[in-house]
Amino acid sequence: MINKKVKNVEEALQGVQSNMTFMLGGFGLCGIPENTITELVKRDVRDVTCISNNAGVDDFGLGLLLQNKQIKKMISSYVGENDEFERQMLSGELEVELTPQGTLAEKCRAAQAGFPAFYTPAGYGTEVAEGKETREFDGKMYVLETAFKADFAFVKAWKGDAAGNLVFKGTARNFNPNMCGAAKITIAEVEELVPVGTLDPNDVHIPGIFVQRIFQAENYEKRIEQRTVRK
């Protein structure tokens, strides 16, 4: 077993610097690497590019990095729910690249799987396709999209072991598995770091080969964005 376990978030984030490109898992506030985000705020790394489906809310998730003006550029599919984000974007302080959600996921997966690019029908005929190569296959038009290149991928899993194997829970899975191994270094924070051998190999969602560092996270807030109940 190749040991990926590190003591804590401080040790896990060794080598993280300003001007780097990060991938962060999560959909809305669901399945975001909370411990890592808190540490990034503390370290005050600046001018970073963040690839993340959303940008958090004003006072939680990536919104914390935005408030602190640490982000130079966001690559996301949906950025509503965040006033500070909108303000920085409209004033030109923040560069934003909006990407269709399925394309965003596939640009991660392509990086993970060693594909430099792929064709997708999403965005054809819209401003998303401007300046990009297009091509017809069987009478339908497609846009060429390239794989992401990132320095660190920060993911959050439910369970994991020192071998780096990961198991996700519910819809907190989302982009997390697609980002594992899609950057130079993948760091996983887990709710429960279990002894090696306790995860059934049949149940592993992401094999440890895609993960370089793993740590036991603490104090998850798991904030709910839209608490909706049945009457």
């Binding site: 506030l29 959600q101 709910i224």
Partner: protein
């Protein structure tokens, strides 16, 4: 009388076929699930990674790790599954999802749709909408017939940045059910008590009216 949002959802629910996988967008489309016949089998997909979505949870049973694409807490039904974003869009792009129901700011008579951006005003992003409209075999738009200023949303050509081209097949509004084909809107049904003239007046795109147009039947 024009329908309210629940009425639109109720009418669209009649389009949902037995044995189909359906993706519901945010807003009126989400409400469609409330009106689907209970004697047919339908599975709802949410692009953040769940198939077999159930109703909202009872108070106290919310799980922060189980949400829909609108970030609302949800439940799952027996037979449900969770998956990652890439696989979720493989279902969508690969045409495994049969029906997509989503909202729109504008629809053009050639089937173009705009629903993600108002330049200089609102830039929230497209989320999964561009993937959905580029791939789905069957796309139904749920929306009000006019915007807040009373201006038509069914146009000759979209004025807002596009989400997808030539993809919308059907539109259900508070006033009418329309089919989009041959670069025209074909009026299929009227909301109860709404006249063809009233619909014509607030439709900017080419409207084809063939014979008697029946009223929608909402049980």
């Amino acid at each position: 009388m024009a329908l309210n949002k629940n009425g639109i959802a109720q009418r669209i629910a009649q389009e949902v076929q037995d044995g189909s996988y359906v993706n519901l967008g945010i807003g009126i489309p989400t409400m469609v699930a409330n009106y689907v016949r209970t004697d047919i089998e339908v599975e709802f997909q949410s692009e953040n990674g769940v198939l077999g979505m159930g109703p909202f949870p009872f108070e106290g049973e919310e799980d922060a790790d189980i949400i829909n694409a609108g970030k609302q807490t949800i439940t799952t039904l027996p037979g449900a599954s969770f998956f990652d974003s890439s696989l979720s869009f493989a279902m969508i792009r690969g045409k495994h999802v049969d029906l997509t129901i989503l909202g729109a700011m504008e629809v053009a008579e050639n089937g173009d749709i705009a629903n993600w951006k108002i330049p200089g005003k609102m830039v929230k992003g497209m989320g999964g909408a561009m993937d959905l409209v580029a791939s789905a075999e069957n796309i139904i738009v749920a929306m009000m017939h006019t915007n807040k200023l009373g201006e038509p949303k069914l146009l000759k050509q979209c004025s807002l940045p596009l989400t997808g081209v030539g993809c919308v097949k059907k539109v259900v509004t508070n006033l009418a059910v329309l089919e989009v084909k041959n670069n025209q809107f074909h009026l299929l049904e009227r909301a109860p008590g709404v006249s063809v003239e009233e619909i014509q007046k607030v439709t900017a795109g080419t409207l084809i009216v063939n014979g008697e147009i029946p009223e929608m039947i909402l049980s």
